[in-house]
């Protein structure tokens, strides 16, 4: 399993490994729910005809996707927490961690739960008029792909923290790679204007380029965090003091 | 001040500026009526390629950089403008 040691169950970093290995599970589930199960992604065109939209919005799979996501979307904060603990080890002010944390909270709602429910609501009740269903369709896609600000602040804070960090917890080039995520968010802004062509929410410039950069970034960050957890010395762990002096417990402050 | 003028960088700059003005003039009279004009486009794109190469080579001091950096940057310039021209002519 993880960590390579035979006794991962007794590893001192068990909480980090559990949080770490929940991330691929969550992203694979995320991918399965969005692509093969409900065909929400790759995004359908904003130019679709109303009958096509109504037919898509009424499909039962959207409801199943909704259920799986409402059960599993709590893991997104766990994946964000994995980034936060590495930023905590960096020689940067806690302000970076807190802005990432707030970005994560906002992003989880406006970027994931709300759009998911827009699609779920469409499929929940057959009686809605096509106008309502088209509104939900637009709202769902625009919230998924058009939610920019919360992720801007997250990637900016994460990228800057990595670049400014002297402990070199994560490699510097990853910091610059994270800053590009910020650039792709800027690039996604036109989805709120264009309804077709390369700048629509399913367009080459706004969606596909950003997706290529995001997926590759996600793998690289994931590998770097694996190395960061692995290379962390046992003495540096928060529970290192626990076995040294069982009686008095001066927890290390790290304001 | 004279040191400035005889500095090789300034010569490169002067070349870049004149070429910029030249390409603007080409675009102006060649395509004033704003319809497809392949000669203007190829000329302008090639000039842009040369300008990009000059800036990378001299200003970014890639001239003195290790081989891999020279290869990457000039490779980018060549590949980009080759792609641009192929897409342009493919669409005519």
């Amino acid at each position: 399993m993880s960590g390579g040691e035979t006794s991962w169950r007794t590893s001192r970093k068990l909480d980090q490994w559990i949080a770490f290995w929940s991330v691929p599970f969550f992203f694979t589930l995320f991918g399965l729910v969005f692509v093969p199960l409900s065909w929400m992604m790759p995004p359908r065109s904003p130019q679709n005809s109303t009958p096509h939209i109504v037919d898509f919005m009424q499909s039962h799979n959207l409801l199943i996707a909704c259920v799986i996501l409402t059960l599993a979307y709590g893991l997104a904060p766990v994946s964000n927490a994995c980034y936060l603990i590495q930023v905590k080890r960096m020689s940067v002010s806690p302000a970076f961690r807190y802005s990432m944390m707030i970005g994560a909270v906002t992003g989880a709602i406006v970027g994931m739960l709300f759009p998911m429910f827009c699609f779920g609501l469409g499929a929940f009740r057959p009686g809605y008029s096509s106008a309502v269903l088209t509104m939900l369709y637009d709202f769902g896609y625009l919230a998924f792909i058009g939610s920019l600000g919360c992720f801007c602040v997250m990637w900016m804070a994460f990228g800057l923290a990595i670049i400014l960090d002297e402990n070199r917890i994560l490699p510097k080039w990853l910091g610059y790679y994270t800053v590009w995520q910020y650039v792709t968010e800027l690039m996604a802004a036109p989805v709120w204007i264009a309804k077709s062509g390369p700048f629509a929410w399913n367009g080459l410039m706004t969606f596909w380029f950003a997706m290529i950069l995001y997926v590759s970034w996600q793998f690289l960050v994931y590998i770097c965090i694996y190395r960061a957890i692995k290379n962390q010395l046992e003495a540096e762990l928060d529970n290192a003091w626990a076995d040294l002096r069982p009686t008095v417990a001066p927890a290390k402050s790290s304001a | 001040m004279t040191a400035l003028i005889r500095n090789p960088l300034t010569i490169v700059w002067a070349l870049l500026t004149t070429v910029t003005i030249a390409s603007s003039l080409i675009a102006l009279d060649g395509g004033a009526s704003h319809h497809i004009n392949t000669t203007v486009t190829t000329a302008v794109l090639l000039i842009a390629a040369v300008k990009t190469f000059l800036v990378i080579w001299h200003f970014m001091e890639v001239r003195r950089a290790p081989l891999w950096l020279k290869a990457t940057t000039s490779g980018w310039v060549l590949a980009l403008f080759a792609l641009l021209l192929t897409f342009y002519f493919a669409s005519l």
């Binding site: 909480d15 766990v78 909270v105 989880a108 779920g120 309502v132 626990a242 069982p246 927890a251 | -």
Partner: protein
């Protein structure tokens, strides 16, 4: 380090719970819980007949929506005292609390919106009511992960005398199992899993109420024997 601050925050929980109970009892939509099988016209009629009741509770819930956050904050602080290798569980816990509370507020907004102009097109009132129920009942994902993180921090606590007794962790895992079914309220309009059914509605709300009471008591005990050691969370 005196724990007066934490104790004050903790004691804001009982009045908050009382207000939530009051809102629950007075809310017309909950007595009995609206059935998902109602047609848009019936829903619109219901909202027209109970505007004052719904708006009153919507405003009250809007005010007290985050009143339990201090309790969760103290939980996060006590969790950070547990000797785990990193604060990853505490950070995940805090983000989950943020997301869960926002979902509740969105539900309150939708009910308020539906009652604000009940003479709207019935389809829109019905849509707002559906959305409110979705945001109120369905998103258990964050509460489940929140409780799992808490349970993990208790299980993995290397302290000589752990911050929380282990039964609190077992209790949290139990709540996760009890809350899970209400996520399926999206799939059904009738039967136990529908949003007005016993599993999704009654079980979920009672579990949550019991969860708050037990956590309140466990936190009081943890804060009392916190003694003088400092907090790691910073």
């Amino acid at each position: 380090m005196n724990t007066k601050g934490q104790r004050i925050l903790l004691w804001t929980a009982p009045p908050a719970v009382a207000l939530f109970a009051l809102a629950y009892l007075v809310f017309p939509v909950f007595s009995p819980p609206l059935s998902p099988t109602l047609t848009p016209d019936q829903v619109a009629a219901f909202f027209r007949d109970n505007v004052t009741g719904i708006l009153g509770v919507a405003i009250l819930c809007n005010l007290i929506a985050c009143s339990l956050v201090p309790l969760f904050a103290v939980t996060a602080v006590q969790m950070s005292r547990a000797a785990t290798s990193s604060p990853v569980l505490t950070y995940a816990y805090v983000i989950c609390v943020g997301v869960g509370t926002t979902a509740f507020i969105l539900a309150d907004y939708c009910w308020g919106m539906a009652a604000f102009r009940p003479d709207r097109d019935p389809q829109l009132v019905s849509l707002l009511n559906d959305m409110a129920w979705f945001f109120f009942i369905a998103p258990v994902g964050t509460i489940m992960v929140q409780n799992l993180c808490f349970a993990l921090s208790v299980y993995l606590d290397d302290r000589p005398e752990p911050v929380f007794p282990r039964w609190v962790a077992h209790f949290n895992v139990a709540t996760v199992v009890l809350l899970a079914p209400s996520a399926f309220s999206i799939l059904y309009k009738t039967g136990p899993l529908a949003w007005n059914g016993p599993l999704s509605f009654t079980l979920r709300l009672t579990t949550f109420a019991v969860y708050i009471a037990v956590m309140f008591w466990a936190l009081l005990r943890a804060v009392r024997n916190q003694g003088d050691d400092r907090v790691v969370l910073a």
